[in-house]
């Protein structure tokens, strides 16, 4: 008994005196440098954006006071917001449909399992990448300047905005499918259409529907932006009421919009769970 006890004691002393880590020194050094860089950029950007968290927390009561100007919401204004909301949802449905239809050929052309010509699919991939860099507000502004104020520029902006995203998601899915099914159909003499229809479509269809629903949700949210630049939808009345400082009306519209977003997302989640 005695020697064992002693051993235990010395063990404890050992671990207390010599603290050693599982991480090698080089990794520790690298992580320290990375964290230093990350936080120095952070503090610089806080200065650039004039973000003052101390002031924010010390004046929290003032901020709540200002926020209280939005309450109680003016419920009677909801009646005026119903029609723009319907317009918003209709724009989102139409834009999603267009982008889903256009993205099928685009994603087939930018998937390297379908198109063997390296230059062809690289070209299409680059077009998609450039499309995706454009924020929705920029697209909407450009189209409003081309087509004038109305819902046409809104539909076009959302279509192109979601097209870049959808084509990327879908072409990545097409690239990860099982190529043996395509090969089997090709080896029995199927042409390219038959290869796609029987070899690709059954494998990507569940994902495709799920992406379509996801983009629809995004479009409902994004179409809020459109109204601010004159491209139709519920954003325009929010913009007007904000400019008139009618915060209680804004609050009513925002609550209506939030309810609509929640309902649409619940439905689309239920559909997605069935499909995938």
């Amino acid at each position: 008994m005695m020697p064992q006890l002693q051993e235990n004691k010395t063990d404890k002393v050992m671990t207390k005196n010599s603290v050693y880590s599982v991480y090698p020194k080089k990794v520790k050094f690298q992580i320290t440098i990375i964290f230093a860089i990350v936080f120095s950029i952070y503090f610089y950007s806080l200065r650039e954006t004039e973000a003052d968290f101390l002031e924010f927390f010390s004046e929290l009561n003032l901020i709540f006071e200002k926020l209280l100007r939005m309450f109680p919401p003016e419920w009677s204004y909801i009646q005026a917001a119903i029609d723009p909301l319907i317009e918003t949802i209709q724009i989102a449905v139409v834009a999603t449909t267009f982008s889903v239809l256009i993205c099928i050929p685009m994603s087939l052309l930018s998937a390297n399992t379908i198109v063997k010509n390296k230059y062809l699919y690289q070209t299409f991939r680059n077009i998609m990448n450039i499309l995706r860099t454009m924020p929705d507000i920029l697209l909407a502004t450009i189209f409003v300047s081309f087509f004038g104020i109305g819902i046409v520029p809104g539909i076009l902006a959302l279509t192109i905005f979601s097209l870049g995203l959808l084509a990327k998601l879908l072409s990545e899915t097409i690239e990860t499918i099982d190529p043996r099914q395509m090969e089997a159909i090709r080896s029995t003499g199927g042409n390219i259409i038959q290869v796609i229809w029987y070899g690709v479509v059954p494998q990507v269809l569940p994902n495709f529907i799920s992406y379509g629903l996801y983009v629809f949700e995004l479009n409902v949210r994004a179409s809020l932006v459109l109204g601010f630049v004159g491209a139709g939808g519920i954003g325009s009345i929010i913009d007007t009421q904000l400019n008139f400082m009618q915060y209680q009306k804004v609050m009513a519209v925002l609550i209506l919009l939030l309810v609509a977003v929640i309902v649409i997302e619940t439905i689309s989640n239920a559909l997605r769970r069935r499909v995938v």
């Binding site: 599982v22 990350v38 950029i41 952070y42 610089y44 950007s45 806080l46 650039e48 954006t49 004039e50 973000a51 003052d52 924010f56 901020i63 709540f64 200002k66 926020l67 939005m70 319907i86 317009e87 949802i89 209709q90 724009i91 449905v93 139409v94 449909t97 990448n129 450039i130 860099t133 454009m134 924020p135 929705d136 507000i137 920029l138 502004t141 450009i142 300047s145 081309f146 087509f147 004038g148 109305g150 819902i151 046409v152 539909i155 949210r221 809020l224 932006v225 601010f228 630049v229 954003g235 929010i238 913009d239 904000l242 915060y247 925002l254 919009l257 939030l258 977003v261 929640i262 997302e265």
Partner: protein, 268 residues
């Protein structure tokens, strides 16, 4: 005769499935009829006459950017990037405790865990612009409102992604350390963080890419960034400057996407 012999047997069909598909198709037709007829009745077709005129007038000016304004534009684009950076970093740090709260294998009580999940879902339902309006009204217009908006919207998404990462870790390591008598802090630093940190960072970087696009929109309600300038330029019909903005946004976003993709590939 020969043909009949090689015919495939007919596919089994279930009536329930057929009825279900029919109902789905019917609902879709109704939705599409409602949406397209609504949109068609709302379209003002007079734009068709003006379109070619507008195109010939605006496109050459867009393609001929006004380089004299490059200083102002880059300053605002950097402000946009800084808003996204500060917001994403706040969200990336704040999402860690909430990710643990919403991860099923870290919280013992399932009810408490469900609360964590709901909290993150609630945060994700708010569209960015709604939050931006709240913040502009409460803290006043400026880039700080944008930082708060980006931080709060990204935090819900990152929390959910973090929780999924934490749920997929190897719990044997945690158990081994518990068996050795390690305390909670030691388990966190030596068993959990090494497994999850690379993926946490990768998701945060991805979110940074998304947030740069998101923070361009914030200017619409006065929450800082290049959005205000985009709207102003279009309202002033200063198409040369808009052309410059388009080019600079594409270049900056592509550079950042490229760097972030490179880092993410090395991380995971």
């Amino acid at each position: 005769m020969m043909n009949n012999e090689f015919k495939l047997p007919p596919k089994p069909k279930s009536n329930r499935k057929r009825v279900r598909n029919l109902i789905i198709a019917l609902i879709l037709v109704v939705i599409y009829y409602w949406a397209f007829s609504g949109v068609l009745s709302r379209i003002d077709w007079s734009f068709v006459n003006k379109l070619s005129d507008n195109l010939t007038r605006i496109v050459p000016r867009l393609a001929n950017p006004d380089w004299a304004e490059i200083g102002k534009v880059t300053e605002l684009i950097f402000e946009t990037v800084f808003i996204a950076y500060a917001g994403t970093l706040i969200a990336a740090v704040l999402a860690v405790p909430f990710g643990f709260w919403a991860a099923g294998n870290m919280v013992k009580s399932p009810i408490w865990n469900t609360f964590g999940k709901w909290f993150l879902i609630l945060d994700r339902t708010f569209p960015e612009l709604i939050l931006a309006i709240f913040f502009v009204i409460s803290v006043g217009p400026g880039a700080f409102a944008g930082v708060l908006t980006i931080g709060l919207t990204s935090f819900g998404m990152l929390g959910k992604l973090y929780a999924e990462v934490i749920e997929s870790i190897d719990m044997d390591v945690v158990e081994a350390m518990e068996a050795n008598g390690a305390n909670k802090v030691q388990i966190l630093f030596y068993a959990i963080f090494p497994q999850v940190l690379p993926e946490f960072l990768s998701f945060a970087l991805y979110r940074f890419e998304v947030d740069i696009r998101a923070s361009t929109v914030l200017g619409l309600v006065g929450a800082g960034g290049i959005g205000t300038l985009i709207v102003l330029t279009a309202a002033n019909r200063d198409w040369e400057q808009l052309g410059l903005i388009i080019i600079s946004i594409i270049v900056v976003v592509m550079i950042i996407d490229y760097i972030s993709t490179k880092i993410r590939k090395r991380l995971v």
